[in-house]
């Protein structure tokens, strides 16, 4: 397939054992760059993660690996052996980008700082994504998704508006059961890479990008930080929204957000609820009053939400311009007419003919469109191909215990 991405012609070497670095490199591949994923001889750790199409672990068919590593080629090297390290250095010397994703101590131990790599390739852009960054008092700390989501402020902030903590003793801070910090850091890493590329066109040389997952989490919460910065008070959980109703409530078949903070929305909502007598009470006469008297209002609204399904509430409300919405399951999202019509999910086929889907790309670009032009590589699938094509390696050079060919 002809690649049309904006980064066609640029070379990327990826060496990482975390979601963030893999996702960052995938996004560069999504934009058309020639991305070579360097894996240890035993394979990337995410090959073990699953889920697997047949339900049985298979390193070439881990769902997480497939998602993180499409639009890349795969090379297998033991970079701690002389032969593997030499091949790795040769690849880096030929590359525009080196994307790293490890704990910072591992990057230091392996000698992968830019000053140690770029003498032979001053144009090299090194992007290191680590839990706490390469510098600063906590830079040596180990971390993963839970640690970054916690130390970046997002776990404390969850559940977020308009969801609320019931009993703080029973509800500690919460993480989503996804690799969210990895994706947040990955996309910011890709931004940093392309920004560095534009800088390189001005000044001619590359640079070292030091991206902290902790900061990548904090960076996507400007509104939450604004509360701390402008109120000068600790943002306590739970905090009720200042204007009501903007509430997350149970309904007949699940949960629904009911948002009617504007007076017109509130009146429309009361119309839908058949204008009960209490709608006229002084204590509910404005959004601020309704927030102040939320303890009285909530059970009254619950009578209405519990009498309807989430879909009914959303339909009735959205028809009147009130932004209400039910909690979808993953299946409801995947099967929705909206997702189908936009073609967001991509069809995949497993080794035994199993069919399944993976999410596509959230951006549509008119002239440089995204395509899934290459599935994730099998372990060592492109070692020979890439070392020959990028570096002109001979068969002799490929025969080395540090170089994993298939």
């Amino acid at each position: 397939m002809l690649q049309q991405g904006a980064l066609v012609g640029l070379k990327v070497v990826e060496f990482t054992d975390q979601v963030a670095g893999s996702f960052c490199a995938r996004l560069l591949g999504d934009a058309g760059a020639d991305v070579v994923k360097v894996e240890p001889l035993g394979g990337d750790r995410h090959r073990k993660n699953g889920p697997f199409p047949s339900g049985v672990p298979d390193p070439d068919w881990s769902g997480l690996f497939l998602y993180l590593n499409s639009n890349k080629r795969g090379v297998s090297l033991d970079i701690e052996s002389p032969g593997g390290r030499a091949a790795f250095q040769d690849l880096v010397n030929a590359a525009d980008f080196l994307v790293l994703g490890h704990n910072s101590s591992e990057i230091e131990r392996l000698g992968l700082r830019r000053e140690q790599l770029a003498e032979a390739n001053p144009k090299l852009i090194v992007t290191a994504i680590t839990p706490f960054g390469l510098t600063g008092p906590n830079s040596g700390y180990l971390g993963d998704d839970l640690i970054a989501i916690s130390a970046g402020g997002m776990a404390y902030a969850t559940p977020g508006i308009p969801d609320m903590v019931g009993d703080p003793d029973l509800e500690p801070p919460l993480r989503s059961n996804t690799n969210m910090a990895g994706y947040l850091a990955g996309v910011q890493g890709a931004v940093a890479c392309v920004a560095a590329l534009l800088s390189r066109t001005i000044q001619g040389t590359g640079c070292e990008i030091d991206l902290s997952m902790q900061e990548a989490v904090a960076a996507v919460m400007p509104f939450e930080l604004a509360h701390a910065s402008y109120h000068e008070a600790k943002a306590r959980r739970p905090e009720i929204f200042g204007v009501m109703p903007n509430a997350y409530l149970p309904c007949k078949d699940g949960y629904v957000v009911v948002m009617a903070v504007m007076e017109a929305h509130w009146r429309n909502l009361m119309d839908l609820a058949d204008n009960p007598d209490w709608a006229e009470l002084e204590v509910f006469s404005s959004g601020v009053e309704r927030a102040r008297n939320w303890d009285a209002l909530e059970p009254l609204l619950l009578e209405w939400t519990m009498a309807h399904t989430g879909a009914e509430i959303a339909q009735l409300a959205q028809d009147r311009g009130i932004p209400c919405f039910p909690a979808y399951t993953v299946g409801q999202m995947v099967d929705s007419a909206h997702v189908k019509e936009r073609g967001f999910m991509r069809d995949m086929e497993g080794p035994g003919g199993q069919t399944f889907k993976l999410p596509g790309y959230p951006v549509r670009m008119e002239r440089t469109p995204w395509e899934l032009f290459r599935p994730a590589p099998a372990l060592g699938e492109h070692t020979s191909e890439v070392l020959q094509e990028w570096l002109g390696y001979t068969v002799d050079q490929l025969t080395n215990p540090g170089v994993g060919t298939r």
């Binding site: 904006a6 991206l211 939450e224 604004a226 997702v339 967001f344 889907k357 670009m365």
Partner: protein
């Protein structure tokens, strides 16, 4: 210090609320000249809390000031033909247009992509929508909560046996904004190589849908819906937050192998844990975390958060504090790294905010200036840049095309 990549690039910012304002702010930090086009008749974050010292005012909102730093503010009435004409003039001297009005709004004002392309054939034009600009739900109003709920993210977030929860931090806006910045930088690079502009469309629901590959795969393989598991993990245990001394203080601890668990046991002064057959392998710990977590909780509950973090990190166990927003802005590590910056604002003084999450050769590409006052740069933009003469400027001010 590396050259700022967007010096000389001009952005016309029609951003609303957070997502696109945040996008354009990142472009401003990268050196672009960002002209924020505001309409007095439909202000959002400027008139929403949090306000400095809880005192309302169009220049006092943290929600506005934290996503509009380093920009120029130009206040045009886009319901007035003269205001729209000025917006078109700004676009004709801009490289990039970004907007996230409701679907169809820019088109109704005559500022849609096709209109703009005739003014500026190589324009890069980005539209972001909660549900995107196509599909049966394109007109739905969607705030961050709706995006959490539709995308399925809420369904994988929540305590065990409890209902779906909404992630905190209004992050769908900023996360989608990062995709916008990525696409725009790619488009700017493409234009530098080819001379071509283009249209870009981003759907916030899809940015979030991309967080759930495993759940989507499992559902489409055999209809399995994910269970909510609190802070637990499918392969690691212990993997949770634990209470420490004091009120509302927690530490996050994540252990993935026997070596880390042995180190945790040693750090906690209880080697019995590692010897206990219930906890002697990753599989055993996963199975018996209901027994294990209270033991760890008992140890952490009499210690301060930093004490636990330092002990565990020194022993090689991944651990971190659960920080709230105020603690994030005061965190000595992030402050030392330059993540927290405090530009001076003429009305509200210095307010700390979060900059880029990365440094470049050790320096932080960052915030040049605080957010603009309402209409602060009308003269600079309309008179100096667009060369509108004095008498015409006075007329536009008088008839309300400029606020």
């Amino acid at each position: 210090m590396t050259a700022l990549p967007l010096e000389g690039v001009r952005i016309a910012d029609f951003g609303q609320i957070i997502a696109v304002p945040y996008t354009a702010q990142m472009l401003a930090w990268l050196g672009a000249e960002v002209i924020l086009i505001e309409t007095e008749q439909r202000l959002t974050t400027r008139v929403w809390p949090p306000f400095a010292e809880a005192e309302p005012g169009v220049n006092r909102s943290g929600g506005f000031n934290m996503v509009n730093s380093s920009k120029l503010s130009c206040t045009l009435n886009l319901r007035d033909p003269d205001g729209v004409a000025l917006a078109k003039q700004i676009i004709s001297v801009s490289d990039v247009v970004v907007e996230n009005y409701s679907s169809g709004t820019m088109e109704r004002m005559g500022l849609g992509y096709e209109d703009v392309k005739s003014l500026r054939p190589d324009v890069i034009y980005l539209s972001l929508g909660a549900f995107g600009r196509t599909g049966p739900m394109k007109d739905l109003v969607g705030f961050h909560s709706v995006i959490n709920l539709f995308s399925g993210l809420a369904s994988v977030t929540g305590h065990k046996g409890s209902h779906p929860r909404i992630m905190g931090g209004l992050f769908p806006d900023a996360f989608s904004g990062c995709y916008c910045v990525l696409a725009l930088l790619e488009a700017i690079y493409h234009r530098a190589n080819t001379g071509e502009g283009q249209h870009i469309e981003v759907a916030m629901t899809e940015a979030l849908g991309g967080l759930l590959p495993e759940a989507v795969m499992e559902y489409t393989l055999d209809g399995t819906e994910p269970e909510r598991v609190g802070n637990r993990h499918r392969e690691k245990a212990p993997h949770n937050v634990f209470r420490c001394r004091g009120d509302e203080n927690w530490v996050a601890i994540s252990v993935e192998d026997d070596a880390q668990f042995l180190a945790l046991s040693q750090a906690a002064g209880n080697l019995g844990w590692a010897a206990d057959p219930r906890f002697s392998s990753p599989e055993a710990r996963l199975k018996n975390q209901d027994d294990l977590e209270p033991l760890i909780q008992e140890w952490t509950s009499v210690l301060d958060v930093p004490e636990v973090v330092e002990k565990l990190q020194a022993a090689g166990v991944p651990a971190g504090p659960v920080l709230d927003s105020a603690q994030v802005l005061a965190d000595p590590h992030m402050v030392a790294r330059g993540f927290v910056q405090s530009p001076e604002h003429p009305e509200v003084g210095q307010r700390p905010l979060g900059a880029f999450s990365w440094t470049v050769d050790g320096g932080r590409p960052g915030i040049a200036r605080s957010a603009p006052l309402f209409g602060e740069h009308n003269q600079k933009v309309i008179q100096e840049l667009l060369q509108v003469p004095d008498d015409e400027f006075a007329r536009l001010l008088k008839n309300g095309a400029i606020s």
